[in-house]
């Protein structure tokens, strides 16, 4: 019956939107944690359903063996429409205060008693507040743009591969929508697994390449470890709260008691659940020990790297923590958040050091993604969900731009990604837009003053110093580490730009004769073969080898300048990256647009123990504008710190000083990169000052090790894989000798029973009849025995 209702209401969407808008009234107000969410029309259901429709249509394309760009256009159209719907939903949500729930249908609703906590509900239902809208706006928007880019980028694969690519692409957006929009942890988990699956499928898109298959498997396995944490977090949440629905969890947190009467204050779950969820977030967002899968994931087609492994999926961890932020702030010591801050800062620094020494420009972008994700986690940790989510948004735009520029280079130069083999790309004919877009992306990533990346990074850096060390352990140290990382970031970003995009025009094509995404060999050689950085002579020899290879393909190589789709998407993204800076000045009193959105969602920071008062206020007084401003301050960590000492940056107000400090650091980084990689460089392979630097005592010894990624893969191999393999062999022997015996024994019991019972099935009718009669007799005997 619900099906019919849903379909009917979907059909009457046009009128629906109008009536919903009419219902919405009153000024926007702060998000009241635990307040009953407003019911909402089914319009929002279209956001996940449109990509799903696209999956179905493209599957049909695959069945009918379509050999055109149709799948791309289906994807672009469905995602663009989904974006339009998201905007409209966002308008509706902004008009009415609080969270909204759009009910799809009852999927699993189960109870085994009427008592509290004796039921389990996991519905296909959407929880929509400003955080949801915020995320979905860039997921669907970027998704549509990147699909358009991919329509050209993947054009050499038109046919089955093209269909497969776009099916997985649409399925990814569907899963991401479930992850972000679901109103319970079960939907989040399914979306989480769904994006993991799509990521696996797309990393392994070139399944004939062993490197890609290995990378896909690595990503899958590493993510499983994190997912175990998430799953355990989900189960623990259910065990403690008796529900997995956000609204119920938030209600319990706002009252301080779960529905079964457990007092949350000081309860173990305040640490355990966030810690488990954080493990899941670390896996998906490639933090700390889990980051190893993300660089390898660059084996996937570049649009995938841009959408999934830079802009959207890897930020799911940030989303999870922002969504469950009330749960993280139950613990009065904020222990888990301290851990998150440190993990983020360490990851940011670690990945930046590796990025400085890589030669594969796409890998550099991969490491920089890990590093920037570290910034976001540090932001969450130091209690600025606003800074973290704003950085998610700006990063989504500029990192997508950067990846797509790298992709354009790769597409044009036959898979060439080695920064020693490309130079002056910007000056080549038809590469202007790519060059300019790259410059804009690089400026953002480097935190150049007044770019969007500058403002978002600045919020995190400043907050790290504002948040007192008593609240988040070592918060100011986190700030210093992040500042240092910001310097490194500016350097490695412009290292790429000065080497590849400016300077003398010089190039050497990659292994792929026509634009296919294969750079496995090239990478394998540079990454593992030999630390070629400080051995120019050797490197030249290597280059010649490639030349010979190029001739082997026959004919002279001409770079293949990007077409309209790639140029258009790059232009749009570059403009968006610049425009994102403007969002910082919208709603200035609430720390920008991101702050405005977060203050109206569950990501709002409320100090431990204050949830209750908050809830009471919701019941009695109408929310006022002061309240909003107050909440915004709270999200910047100020409200809670009213009676505490605020942190400072060398005795200054961090919010004021940080603009100058990080701006100057960005300039220094760029300047160093200019000196080392632009100044006096006459060829693609080397630059005079960089050579000198590599001969300097400290850098010279460190760089090759950094280039080998500090041997983390080898260490993991040694510490985890080898022992596991050995253990595996030992267990195999035990299994063969002992367990198999037990299993066979256990299996033999039913089989033996079966054999002995088999004689009863003789096929002779009168024996059956006798058996039945004896059976009736035995049953009656049993009854008599019981009665006596």
């Amino acid at each position: 019956m619900q099906l019919v209702d849903t379909v009917m209401s979907l059909l009457s969407l046009a009128t629906m939107g109008a009536s919903d808008a009419a219902l919405a009234g009153g000024a926007a107000s702060a998000h009241q944690l635990g307040a009953e969410p407003t019911k909402m029309g089914p319009l929002a259901l279209l956001i996940p359903l449109l990509p799903l429709l696209s999956v179905v249509l493209i599957t049909l394309c695959a069945v009918f063996k379509v050999k055109s760009k149709l799948p791309a256009w289906i994807t672009v159209a469905s995602l663009a429409t989904a974006f339009g719907v998201t905007v409209s939903v966002w308008q509706q949500v902004s008009a009415t205060p609080g969270a909204h729930v759009s009910f799809g249908y009852e999927w699993i609703s189960f109870s085994w008693g009427n008592g509290v906590g004796q039921s389990f509900a996991g519905n296909f239902s959407l929880y929509i507040d400003q955080l949801t809208c915020y995320w979905m706006l860039f997921v669907t928007g970027l998704g549509a743009l990147i699909a358009l880019y991919a329509s050209e980028y993947m054009s050499h694969d038109v046919g089955p591969g093209y269909n497969r690519f776009f099916t997985a692409f649409s399925l990814f957006v569907f899963s991401m929508a479930c992850l972000v929009m679901g109103d319970n942890l079960l939907m989040l988990f399914l979306g989480w697994e769904g994006v993991g699956l799509c990521s696996y499928l797309l990393i392994g898109y070139f399944y004939q390449k062993p490197v890609a298959v290995d990378a896909a498997k690595k990503a899958f396995v590493v993510n499983r470890i994190g997912d175990l944490g998430l799953l355990m977090g989900l189960l623990t949440t259910f065990a403690v709260f008796g529900t997995i629905e956000y609204k119920e969890i938030f209600k319990a947190i706002s009252t301080g008691y779960t529905s079964s009467g457990i007092a949350l204050q000081g309860h173990w779950s305040g640490i355990v659940i966030p810690a488990l969820l954080t493990a899941g977030a670390f896996g998906k967002s490639a933090q700390l020990f889990f980051y190893v899968w993300l660089p390898d994931a660059m084996e996937g087609p570049t649009p995938v790297s841009a959408l999934i492994h830079a802009a959207t999926m890897v930020t799911a961890g940030v989303y999870l923590i922002a969504r469950m932020f009330p749960l993280y702030t139950v613990d009065p010591n904020l222990l888990v958040l301290s851990g998150v801050a440190w993990a983020g800062a360490i990851t940011a620094f670690w990945a930046a050091t590796i990025a400085m020494a890589q030669f594969d420009i796409k890998r550099i972008m991969g490491y920089s993604t890990i590093s920037q994700l570290g910034f976001m986690f540090a932001g969450l940790g130091v209690l600025t969900t606003t800074g973290a989510t704003f950085h998610v948004l700006t990063h989504a735009f500029f990192k997508a731009t950067l990846f797509l520029c790298c992709g354009a280079v790769m597409h044009g130069f036959a898979g060439q990604l080695d920064l020693r083999k490309l130079s002056g790309v910007m000056w080549m004919k038809g590469w202007g837009i790519v060059g300019v877009a790259m410059l804009i992306g690089c400026l953002n990533l480097a935190g150049f003053a007044f770019t969007a990346g500058f403002f978002s990074k600045d919020m995190i850096l400043a907050q790290a110093f504002v948040t007192p060390d008593t609240k988040i352990i070592g918060s100011s140290l986190v700030g210093w580490l992040l500042l240092l990382t910001a310097l490194l970031t500016a350097y490695y970003t412009f290292r790429v730009f000065f080497r590849v995009f400016v300077g003398p025009v010089q190039y050497e094509p990659g292994d792929e004769h026509h634009g296919a995404d294969d750079h496995g060999h090239g990478h394998g050689d540079h990454g593992h073969g030999h630390g070629a950085a400080h051995a120019p002579a050797h490197d030249k020899g290597h280059g010649h080898g490639h030349d010979g290879h190029g001739h082997g393909h026959g004919g002279e190589f001409h770079p293949h300048a990007p077409g309209w789709a790639i140029n258009f998407v790059l232009a749009v993204l570059a403009v968006a990256s610049i425009a994102a800076a403007g969002l910082y000045f919208v709603n200035k009193d609430e720390h920008g647009w991101a702050g405005h959105m977060m203050a109206r969602s569950s990501a709002k920071f409320v100090a431990p123990g204050e949830h209750h008062g908050d809830h009471a206020a919701a019941g009695h007084t109408a929310p006022t504008d002061e309240k909003v401003a107050d909440a915004a301050h709270a999200s910047a960590g100020e409200k809670s710190a009213k009676d505490e000492e605020l942190g400072t940056f060398l005795g200054q107000d961090p919010h004021k000083v940080m603009y100058y400090v990080s701006g100057v650091l960005g300039l220094i980084g760029i300047g160093v990169a200019f000196l080392l990689h632009k100044q006096g460089r006459t060829q693609a392979a080397t630059s005079p000052l960089a050579e000198k630097m590599l001969k300097a005592p400290i850098f010279g010894t460190l760089a090759p090790h950094a280039q080998r990624k500090w041997y983390v893969d080898e260490i993991y191999n040694f510490l985890i894989r080898v022992p596991l393999l050995v253990l595996g062999h030992i267990f195999h022997i035990i299994d063969k000798l002992f367990v198999d015996g037990l299993v066979n024994l256990a299996g033999a019991v039913p089989v033996f029973t079966g054999h002995s019972l088999r004689s009863s099935q003789s096929g002779v009718m009168h024996r059956y009849a006798a058996g039945m009669a004896v059976g009736v007799g035995l049953v009656l005997l049993l009854a008599v025995l019981v009665m006596i």
């Binding site: 249908y105 099935q761 009718m765």
Partner: protein
């Protein structure tokens, strides 16, 4: 009287259709003969709609069960109707079409076959709606008598004849047993109406305990009906009959008599109710009945599963699996309606839902056997019934191969397929009723069952086709649309009902509101 007739519109529709197809099936015109199938389908759809819209007769013990049962009968009945298409007269009609013979109504069996099919479904509906022992007995026999003939005439082979005869004689023994039980119940209470029996039993309990004759009557009745549900000790016939009959008819046997049997058991036991006791706070049956059912449930699922392990024939495997599933469902019967208002603690609701789940899923597995044929050395065809025949079917015939894989996985209870959502309430009802030991045995049996269900799933999916055997005995698809279509629809049901609001589907027909009599209370609290 009029009111009662009004509640019987679905049955009347089916009965009318049965009479009509007896005539159309014998018509001299081939077009009219072919119409028989469509008449049955139309009648089933009409009956389903009628069952949905008519209200149950007042005074019925379990009005919601009646409504739910009739709708399920029509839904699964339609799937089964697709399966049985082309069983009757296929070879004969082909001869007639080729002009080899002239159509002779005496030789044709189409009319009877469809009529019997519809009669049996009518009986099933009457069972769900029964409120009197005499009615119940007649309804049960109306279910069974046509099936004896359907088994015997389903193929032209001697095995079918043998199966039909076995099924008939053993069925008569079973019927005698439960009729004896009915008689004793009448003797103990002096009533045949279920509501009156209930009041009499309630009076006896109030006066100090149930009459021994009544208890023996109940036990004999339940044991006798266990023939219909293929439970120990009346299970012996199952593998022989399922194997001897054509796969389409076996699928029919696995759903129709089984559902009738469970409806009967639930109706009978509702007369004594599931009384709360200190051991089982959510209610249990009188001790002797409880003990008998407990032993029957455990032995039935275990015997079914262990014997299924040894089979090499798909149909025999499924026959034993059918026995095992009856054992699972008996757990729900033992758990009873539960205390709460909720779906998951009501064992009765679980059983009724499981009937739908099992019916839909089982059609899929049997449809694969029915839809595929293996060519023998002499050029004749036989059903692809050996598990060997499934080898690599996902590669050679993806549609049927995947049907087998998905339906087997669902029968195993693999989440997120429908079978999982069917088994879940059985577990939860057992747990909330306090029958932990029984639930543990149920879990162990599910694990044993995994062995042969995974074999059914792995042969088509993981093995590669045996080319040598395929060239000597090629396996082809039977050119009857209904069979593969039934399989595909079954898969659609298995997936869609699972993704779909599963619990809403279960609540459909308000089965969870089926409150069964508790002595001293109202007989039926249909809410």
């Amino acid at each position: 009287m009029i009111e009662k007739l009004q509640s019987l519109w679905p049955e009347i529709t089916l009965l009318t259709a049965a009479c009509v197809v007896m005539i159309t099936g014998q018509s001299a015109s081939a077009a009219v003969r072919r119409l028989s199938w469509s008449i049955c389908a139309a009648a089933l759809i009409a009956a389903g709609l009628l069952a949905y819209s008519t209200t149950a007769a007042s005074g019925h013990a379990l009005p919601h069960m009646a409504m739910y049962g009739k709708i399920v009968t029509c839904v699964v009945g339609l799937l089964l109707l697709l399966m049985v298409a082309g069983i009757a007269d296929r070879a004969y009609e082909a001869e007639v079409a080729r002009g080899k013979t002239v159509f002779d109504a005496i030789r044709a069996t189409r009319g009877e076959f469809y009529a019997f099919f519809m009669f049996s479904l009518t009986g099933l509906m009457l069972c769900f709606g029964a409120d009197d022992l005499v009615w119940l007995f007649l309804a049960l026999e109306l279910v069974s008598l046509p099936t004896y003939i359907m088994v015997a005439t389903s193929t032209s082979k001697n095995a079918s004849m043998e199966a039909g005869v076995k099924y008939f004689f053993l069925g008569a023994l079973g019927a005698a047993t439960f009729l004896y039980g009915f008689a004793l119940i009448y003797g103990a209470t002096g009533a045949t109406n279920l509501v009156q029996i209930h009041s009499a039993f309630a009076a006896q309990i109030a006066a100090g305990g149930l009459n021994t004759i009544g208890i023996v009557g109940l036990i004999l009745a339940v044991v006798g009906v266990s023939f219909k549900i293929a439970a120990v000790p009346m299970h012996f016939y199952t593998p022989d009959v399922y194997q001897g009959a054509s796969a389409s008819v076996s699928a029919f046997l696995a759903f129709v008599p089984k559902s009738a049997g469970f409806a009967t058991i639930i109706l009978l036991l509702s007369t004594v109710g599931w009384l709360p006791s200190s051991d089982y706070p959510s209610g249990a049956l009188p001790m002797p009945v409880h003990a008998v059912l407990w032993v029957m449930a455990v032995v039935t699922m275990t015997v079914g599963n262990v014997l299924a392990l040894l089979q090499t024939s798909v149909k025999r495997t499924l026959a034993y699996s059918s026995i095992a599933h009856s054992g699972y469902m008996l757990v729900g019967v033992i758990a009873g309606p539960g205390k709460g208002d909720d779906f998951a603690s009501s064992g009765i609701a679980a059983v009724l839902f499981y009937l739908l789940v099992y019916g839909v899923t089982n059609v899929g597995t049997f449809a694969v056997v029915a839809a595929m044929q293996r060519q023998n050395r002499d050029g004749t065809h036989s059903e692809a019934d050996r598990i060997e025949d499934l080898r690599g079917m996902c590669a050679t015939n993806p549609m049927m191969g995947w049907t087998m894989v998905i339906c087997s996985a669902s029968l195993l209870g693999l989440p997120p397929l429908l079978g999982f959502f069917g088994k879940l309430p059985l577990f939860s009802a057992g747990i909330s009723g306090g029958h932990i030991g029984l639930v543990v045995i149920l879990g162990l049996n599910s694990a044993i069952a995994a062995f042969y269900y995974l074999r059914l799933a792995a042969y088509p999916l993981l093995e590669s086709p045996d080319m040598a055997a395929r060239t000597s005995n090629p396996i082809t698809q039977v050119p009857v649309t209904g069979r593969w279509l039934a399989g595909v629809l079954s898969v659609v049901g298995v997936i869609a009902l699972a993704i779909w609001p599963v619990t809403s589907a279960a609540k459909f027909g308000a089965t969870y509101k089926t409150k069964v009599a508790v002595p001293g209370g109202q007989v039926a609290q249909g809410k």
